[in-house]
């Protein structure tokens, strides 16, 4: 199908897309309220906001996945769009690169790039043509990719390049990248920035959507900040600093005080020496004292989660030693780890940490069922009720009825339920993997407060994260992990956010 072109008819069109008065309600919840946004052709624009600020809803509206509420106006290339569908949006040159990239791991690179242009009708697979398209686009971007390679064999950064090539092959005029730097190293981010300049040179607009924008600020022209579904404003990227952006996104200056207690006299609870597991991590040694919060920071794929899983017995280490209170322990299963007093709050709360359809109460007692039995080995109603009540109160979980399904809770409260479930096992070591992913900023604060009070009561905490402020302001010591190895150790008072960022990306 030939692409209808408007720029032949109009002589001057500075804006590729103009949106005004865009609102979106889901039931009683306001996802977007009266948002305006314009993006010029060839502009690099940042869209910043916390989780739940309305960024993703706005992208869904631009890409035609969801219609805006009545009253909003979308003008693309000078034409008013009333019924934007995904295919209409694609036809107009809008391409979204989602964080999960939406590629096909079992197909070749060439197919992933050129596939969408050969969907309709029944015809040959057009291998030669696909290869030709792919090669042309790869050459245009000046990147190194083998069109015949199977996508599943590529690294995350290379896959992202494939996704960008695919957008280009679809004649994109606006490429929206959702959290593009989340899993990239600094060098890979630089490659991405180079490519963005190339896109810009070709008149293709790029929108970066992220809650971590300091890397892309340097090449962006403008920044738009959303908060709680409202647009706070659009600024020149030149006059924006990461610190100011953070304040705008969150709404208040979170002035975290870094307070590190003196733990020299506290006993070492967990001690790990020379722990290795092929392909995951190598030669990891660390220790955590009672009352200490040890921050472990690294990118996706650095081995941070794999290390946590080994400490929790789920993927036993191949060599090295783990000691608890000075006594060597063998953690060959998570059951063994739980029995030794290790608790693990997983990164993926929704799929691994909670049984969403089950009541809050059942979720809390899930890890301690064998300790709550009464006569005849059956579950004791009294004892489970007492346990549930105790944890709801302890962690301040806001529930109307513990028999409601967990899915009815907010992200912050769900995370508290997961933590309660593990605290019920009475652990000595608490491993938190990205504890505030998908939790809004105010609820984050509550979770940090819980973690700090647990540590104050003598628990050893390992907090794994890829968010710099999270480890910088809430842990007593920071370890940096990269390519499966511990690379450096920092004291939070002696390093700045940007220096820590350098350390992670280097």
């Amino acid at each position: 199908m030939p692409r209808r072109s408007h720029h032949g008819e109009d002589t001057h069109l500075p804006n590729f897309i103009e949106m005004s008065g865009i609102s979106k309600h889901f039931g009683g919840v306001t996802a977007l309220a009266d948002v305006d946004l314009t993006i010029a052709a060839g502009e690099v624009h940042c869209l910043a906001g916390e989780n739940g600020s309305g960024k993703s809803t706005l992208i869904k509206i631009i890409s035609g996945v969801q219609p805006p509420d009545a009253g909003g106006e979308i003008v693309i290339d000078g034409t008013r769009q009333t019924h934007l569908t995904p295919s209409e949006s694609t036809r107009l040159g809008i391409q979204v690169i989602y964080q999960d990239l939406a590629l096909f791991p079992d197909l070749t690179v060439a197919e992933n790039i050129g596939f969408a242009q050969h969907l309709s009708g029944l015809h040959g697979a057009r291998w030669a043509k696909l290869r030709e398209t792919a090669q042309a686009v790869i050459a245009r971007l000046g990147v190194q990719l083998d069109p015949a390679a199977r996508l599943g064999d590529l690294s995350i950064a290379q896959r992202q390049l494939v996704a960008i090539c695919r957008a280009l092959a679809a004649d994109a005029r606006l490429v929206i990248m959702d959290e593009p730097t989340a899993s990239l190293t600094r060098t890979e981010v630089d490659t991405l920035l180079g490519i963005t300049r190339e896109l810009k040179r070709r008149g293709i607009a790029v929108v970066f959507v992220s809650h971590r924008l300091d890397e892309v600020l340097e090449i962006a022209e403008r920044v738009t900040v959303l908060r709680d579904g409202r647009k706070l404003g659009t600024w020149d990227a030149q006059e924006m600093t990461p610190a100011r952006l953070g304040t705008l996104m969150t709404g208040h200056e979170f002035d975290y005080k870094i307070a590190v207690p003196d733990l020299a006299a506290a006993p070492v609870v967990l001690s790990v020496s020379n722990l290795s597991r092929t392909g995951d991590f190598e030669d990891v040694s660390l220790e955590i004292r009672a009352g200490e919060i040890l921050g472990l920071i690294g990118l996706l794929g650095s081995g941070r989660t794999e290390l946590a899983l080994s400490l929790f017995g789920m993927r036993p280490a191949e060599s090295g030693e783990i000691r608890l209170n000075g006594k060597p322990v063998l953690l060959r299963s998570n059951r063994a780890a739980i029995d030794e007093g290790i608790a693990y709050v997983s990164e993926d709360r929704l799929s691994l940490g909670l049984v969403l359809e089950q009541p809050i109460a059942s979720n809390i007692i899930l890890s301690t069922l064998d300790r709550l039995t009464g006569a005849g080995g059956l579950l004791s109603r009294e004892r489970t009720g007492a346990s549930v009540g105790h944890w709801i109160e302890q962690l301040g979980i806001k529930v109307s009825d513990p028999e409601n399904a967990v899915r009815t809770l907010s992200g912050g409260n769900q995370q508290r339920v997961v933590i309660a479930k593990w605290l019920a096992t009475n652990p000595r070591v608490l491993i938190l993997d990205s504890p505030t992913v998908g939790v809004d900023i105010n609820a984050k604060d509550g979770i940090y407060a819980i973690v700090k009070s647990l540590a104050a009561a003598g628990m050893a905490v390992l907090m794994i994260s890829d968010e710099i402020p999270e480890v910088l302001y809430h842990s007593h010591r920071i370890l940096v992990m990269q390519s499966g190895r511990l690379k450096a150790e920092y004291h939070p008072m002696q390093i700045t956010e940007s220096a820590l960022r350098e350390a992670i990306d280097a």
């Binding site: 939406a102 096909f104 596939f115 969408a116 969907l119 697979a125 690294s155 392909g279 499966g484």
Partner: protein, 332 residues
């Protein structure tokens, strides 16, 4: 060793080929009747039915779905076709049309239930297996059809070779069906845009939807094709058996599934090749046939076949795990 050979041996198909060859060599040495032209003809004829179904099921598995109901669709198709053929002079084109039509209708019903109600394919097709089979048994009271039209019983075959003892070896309808099913499936999967969309859908359903693949249409096509192949397979099976029994086929669906999975197709979709499926069917056929020729009691033979499936599938899982670990290392 040349590069393509090294890569070939590294693939699942390459390893499977070695296993099948080793089995053939072993059986040829162990029993004189295995490596004979007559046994080859017998094997191709009797495993044509399973082989054709495996080709159809491969397509369903690659798309990320599963179909259990095809033996019931096949039973319905052949029963209807033969009943009509006994009453009217419909000829070959008529029975092909009826078998294909009934099969496609059963497949489309599966796709419709899976697509519109958003149900999981395994549940839907277990249910439809029972519905199709139950209705057939109810309508026929389990009665077999023994007398089939002469033109059908005689079938068609082309003698291609006569040996010294004047024994003819013929290329028959079963072989024609088997080869056509594999060739057609291979063309669809690797040479058409639809085939590549089937791989894409099984590889990443969300991504397929986002890129504009019409998932419902692909499902109609995939399950419809499975139904069509089941109909055709039922036809050549009836011709080989020279009778139609409503309960002769149901129960064989899991053997077919085992052969396809042995051939390297993934139950989670996106992975699988026709060459692998052919080898999977060959492995099971040679094994069953070889054990029979060796005089192993049939219960032991079943047990042994099950064990081989278990070993092969475990090897495949370990292989994939290693592959994933290697991919992780690349990323780190």
């Amino acid at each position: 060793m040349p590069e393509f050979l090294k890569r070939g041996l590294h693939s699942h198909e390459g390893k499977l080929l070695l296993v099948v060859l080793a089995l053939i060599v072993f059986l040829s040495v162990a029993t004189p009747s295995f490596f004979t032209l007559q046994n080859l003809v017998d094997l191709l004829t009797s495993y044509a039915f399973s082989g054709m179904l495996a080709a159809g099921l491969l397509v369903v598995l690659i798309s990320g779905g599963i179909d259990i109901s095809f033996t019931a669709s096949a039973s319905v198709a052949q029963y209807v076709a033969m009943t009509v053929a006994n009453a009217y002079h419909i000829g070959w084109l008529g029975v092909i049309g009826i078998c294909g039509g009934v099969g496609i209708a059963c497949g489309l019903l599966n796709a419709l239930l899976i697509g519109t109600l958003g149900l999981s394919s395994i549940i839907v097709t277990i249910a439809t297996l029972n519905v199709f089979f139950g209705l057939l048994m109810f309508a026929t009271h389990g009665n077999e059809i023994f007398s089939l039209p002469d033109w059908f019983v005689n079938g068609a075959s082309w003698v291609v070779y006569t040996d010294k003892n004047e024994t003819p070896y013929a290329f028959n309808l079963q072989m024609l069906g088997l080869i056509s099913a594999f060739v057609l499936t291979a063309i669809i999967l690797t040479r058409t845009n639809i085939g590549r969309q089937i791989y894409a859908l099984g590889s990443n359903k969300d991504a397929a939807q986002r890129v504009g693949i019409k998932v419902f249409r692909i499902n109609l096509l995939v399950y419809g094709y499975m139904g069509f192949v089941a109909g055709m397979a039922s036809l050549i099976q009836a011709q080989d058996a020279q009778s139609v029994s409503p309960n002769a086929l149901v129960g064989r669906e899991l053997d077919v599934l085992a052969a396809v999975v042995l051939g390297g197709a993934s139950l989670t979709g996106g992975v699988g090749t026709v060459s692998g499926t052919i080898l999977g069917v060959m492995l099971l056929a040679c094994l069953e046939n070889g054990l029979l020729l060796l005089g192993v009691p049939s219960y032991w033979s079943q047990c042994f076949t099950g064990a081989v499936i278990l070993i092969a599938v475990s090897a495949l899982a370990i292989e994939r795990q290693r592959h994933r670990a290697a991919a992780r290392r690349v990323m780190a």
